[in-house]
């Protein structure tokens, strides 16, 4: 393709700078663990269920065990050694039994040594290996189903959101959406789940503007989509959110239940949820390693910056974030074909040439990341409640998507910022997409922006600004840049934010069989 004639040296410089900017953060991520990483590891090792007798409501067993281990012997050696040592010492059959005994105050955890250490290492390694085997089997199963049923006939894939709060209603809506043409179903989470430091249990029916991400809800929805996939003759993918305080655990649950895509951004939680930066980078690295193992496509959240900052002025921050997300993803073992880097159609429609500027930004992303399944996000900021105008804007968004070869298209709703979409709104939105795909799906073949025209110049300008910003970030340090409000205008100091108390520096003898197996596979 190469319509923008980007200078390969500038592109290489941008990637090199992103790698340098990310390097100190990667070291930091390697040197620490978090309560969420430890819980994710125990979930891979097979722990399930919740303590329903606790006065605070259902507390997942995994939280009880990790919290107790932390109290009694710290987490700097990892949770598995004390947990598996206690399992043997108390002659318990499963981690769930261990959790029950822990809750009853019958277990005293300690870091094993000598022969006990060897035994705990061995037992925990084989338990975690079993969990990873399930993840591997799911990946094979997905490949098989895709081979049998097929991928969507067209690009971009059509991505639709359901969000009723009740998993049973979600199933009805998701199956109908698939019949109406959706290739990817995302189940939006209940407001505020990202700030829960535990993953709720079981099937849930009362979310706030979304449905809780739980292992059981994942299972129910994946099974429903498997049914409808057979009916519509293509593999319908399922998306959820590995973000917030439980990023690693949700990544594990997604792998165990064969989800296909996960929202997973390196900085979203920091910027938009005020989660501690170190916590986020540690959790993100582990969760992405799990996604890589599971063959899950990540979706990054650059669209969010443009909802807070101006989409023209801040265009280069999107590019910078994409480059950082790419580097962090590669470092965690994710190949290009699993990188759903995000960007959005958020320029004020009153700006002259706004559509040309959108094309410039979209093409820049396309050409910088030619092998990544880019995720193209619809207008939200300039959707005003004038649904007629919104419908037109969504049409131009769809056109920009096909014209610049975007890979995953989140279907825009004219009811954005008004109400949750009616059945008819979703139907109209899909008609809009179908019309554009049908009328202009191959227009990219004829689309040659003038070499010295606005689109090409603008793309070069944004890339240049991105390189300048990356240089500044390399000089200052990424954590400082985040603290200064470089992205999305939010200032987030490295020592502040939610979940900071869940970060633990690893001891020399830290042991985590999941990390070891995931690193070795890379």
């Amino acid at each position: 393709m190469a319509l923008l004639d980007l200078d390969p040296n500038v592109v290489a410089t941008a990637r090199e700078l992103a790698a340098r900017a990310a390097e100190p953060v990667v070291s930091l991520a390697k040197a620490h663990t978090t309560v969420a990483v430890e819980r994710a590891t125990l979930r891979l090792a097979g722990i399930t269920g919740a303590d329903s007798t606790h006065r605070a409501g259902d507390v997942p067993w995994v939280n009880r065990v990790v919290d107790t281990v932390r109290e009694q012997c710290g987490l700097e050696h990892g949770v598995v050694l004390p947990a598996f040592h206690a399992l043997k010492e108390h002659n318990l059959g499963s981690l769930t039994e261990l959790a029950e005994a822990t809750a009853a105050g019958q277990v005293q955890f300690k870091i094993p040594a000598g022969k006990d250490l060897t035994a705990a290492r061995k037992a925990s390694t084989s338990a975690v290996a079993k969990g990873l085997k399930t993840v591997d089997r799911n990946k094979v199963q997905r490949d098989k189903l895709v081979a049998k049923l097929g991928d969507p006939a067209q690009r971009p894939w059509i991505y639709l959101i359901v969000a009723t709060g009740d998993i049973d209603e979600d199933v009805v809506q998701a199956q109908n959406a698939a019949r109406a043409g959706a290739d990817v179903i995302a189940v939006i989470r209940s407001t505020g789940q990202s700030l829960l430091d535990y993953v709720p249990e079981g099937a849930t029916h009362h979310g706030f503007a979304g449905t809780y991400a739980t292992q059981e809800n994942f299972r129910i929805m994946r099974a429903a989509l498997d049914d409808v996939s057979k009916e519509v003759g293509r593999y319908v993918r399922l998306t959820n959110y590995a973000s917030g305080l439980c990023m690693p655990e949700i990544a594990v649950l997604a792998g165990l239940q064969r989800l296909d895509m996960m929202l997973n951004d390196s900085m979203y939680g920091i910027l938009f949820r005020d989660i501690n930066p170190i916590r986020t980078f540690v959790d993100q690295r582990f969760s992405r390693q799990v996604h890589a193992r599971a063959g899950i496509i990540i979706n990054t959240g650059e669209d969010n910056y443009l909802t807070t900052a101006d989409a023209v002025d801040a265009a280069h921050t999107v590019t910078v974030s994409q480059l950082l997300n790419e580097h962090f993803a590669h470092e965690a073992g994710l190949p290009d074909h699993l990188l759903g880097l995000g960007h959005a159609f958020e320029i004020n429609p009153k700006v002259p040439d706004s559509f040309r500027l959108e094309l410039a930004h979209a093409l820049l992303a396309r050409e910088l990341f030619p092998d990544a399944p880019l995720k193209w996000m619809p207008p939200t900021k300039h959707m005003t409640g004038d649904v007629f105008n919104g419908y037109l804007l969504d049409g131009f968004f769809n056109l920009a998507g096909v014209l610049t070869g975007q890979s995953i298209l989140l279907v825009g709703m004219m009811t954005e910022a008004v109400v949750t979409p009616f059945l008819s709104d979703r139907d109209l939105a899909l008609q809009n997409v179908r019309y554009v795909l049908n009328a202009a799906g191959s227009l990219a073949e004829d689309f040659r922006p003038a070499p010295d025209g606005l689109i090409v110049k603008r793309a070069h300008q944004v890339l240049g600004e991105a390189v300048d910003l990356l240089e500044r970030i390399v000089d200052d340090g990424l954590l400082i840049a985040i603290a200064d409000g470089t992205f999305g205008l939010m200032k987030r100091p490295a020592d502040k934010g939610k979940g900071a108390d869940g970060v633990v520096e690893k001891a020399g003898a830290y042991f985590n069989p999941a990390s070891e197996m995931l690193e070795a596979a890379q």
């Binding site: 605070a56 700030l195 005020d274 008819s424």
Partner: protein, 250 residues
């Protein structure tokens, strides 16, 4: 003499034609019967004549309609009673510029869930930049300094933080209502502020799905927000209250 503009009807392309356009979906399979059903609904809505200008199936069980027609109803403008919010809704830019003018410094907001309440959904929807209902939270406003203390904040801790931060406004959220916990907690909070700071206390704002906006007096707070409140409404109120305060002081 009656005001000739007192009674009005919708305007399509001729004065008094009463023309409107609407769209809806019925749980009826596509076909003549569905069109008839749409016609009947439109008639019952006061559209006469009603023209079902478009119908199309949505799946097997639903049909979508677009209807044009003339409504019989008249609007009597004298009878239109608007609940006047005592303050105008401002855009973030307007909030920022007004605060800058009025205060010449940032307005400090301290927020949290008090008592044993761990449901930060409400306070986070208002304070987090992520926001709610398509509106950014208060953190997004350049001229607001937001200190979110999170969940299970004790009243003494809240008073201490408000003092240390020199808070102009304190926002508390209460979701749990067992045994009227939301009311008792809020009263305890407002009493504590009165006792500790008297007239120099910050603006006190309580929010939660089970609060009634009329309860402000009973709760001892300046303002109560109920279900569905958006960050923009809260920000606009804060600006209004600050202006009122300055007005009194001046």
């Amino acid at each position: 003499m009656t005001d000739p503009k007192r009674y009005v009807r919708p305007y399509g392309d001729t004065t008094g034609d009463g023309m409107i356009q609407t769209s809806f979906t019925l749980p009826v399979p596509f076909g003549p019967k569905a069109d008839g059903a749409a016609q009947q609904l439109a008639n019952k809505m006061g559209m006469d004549p009603a023209m079902v200008v478009h119908s199309s199936p949505i799946g097997d069980d639903f049909t979508f309609f677009v209807v044009y027609g003339s409504v019989k109803h008249l609007v009597d403008l004298d009878e239109v009673k608007v609940v006047e919010r005592e303050y105008p809704l401002l855009s973030p830019a307007e909030v920022n510029s007004t605060l800058k003018k009025v205060l010449r410094r940032k307005l400090v907001v301290v927020g949290g869930c008090i008592g044993t309440d761990a449901h930060t959904v409400g306070i986070d929807a208002i304070l987090n930049i992520k926001g709610f209902a398509g509106e950014k939270g208060l953190e997004y406003y350049r001229e607001l300094k937001v200190v979110n203390l999170g969940a299970q904040v004790s009243v003494p801790e809240l008073v201490r933080s408000a003092r240390a931060e020199k808070a102009d406004a304190v926002l508390i959220s209460q979701v749990v209502t067992q045994r009227d916990a939301h009311i008792l907690n809020t009263q305890e909070m407002s009493a504590a502020f009165r006792e500790a700071m008297g007239d120099r206390r910050p603006l006190l704002v309580a929010g939660g799905p089970r609060f009634d906006p009329l309860m402000a007096g009973e709760l001892g707070v300046d303002r109560v927000f109920s279900r569905g409140t958006t960050p923009g409404e809260v920000a606009s109120y804060l600006v209004h209250a600050m202006q009122a305060k300055k007005g009194v002081a001046a």
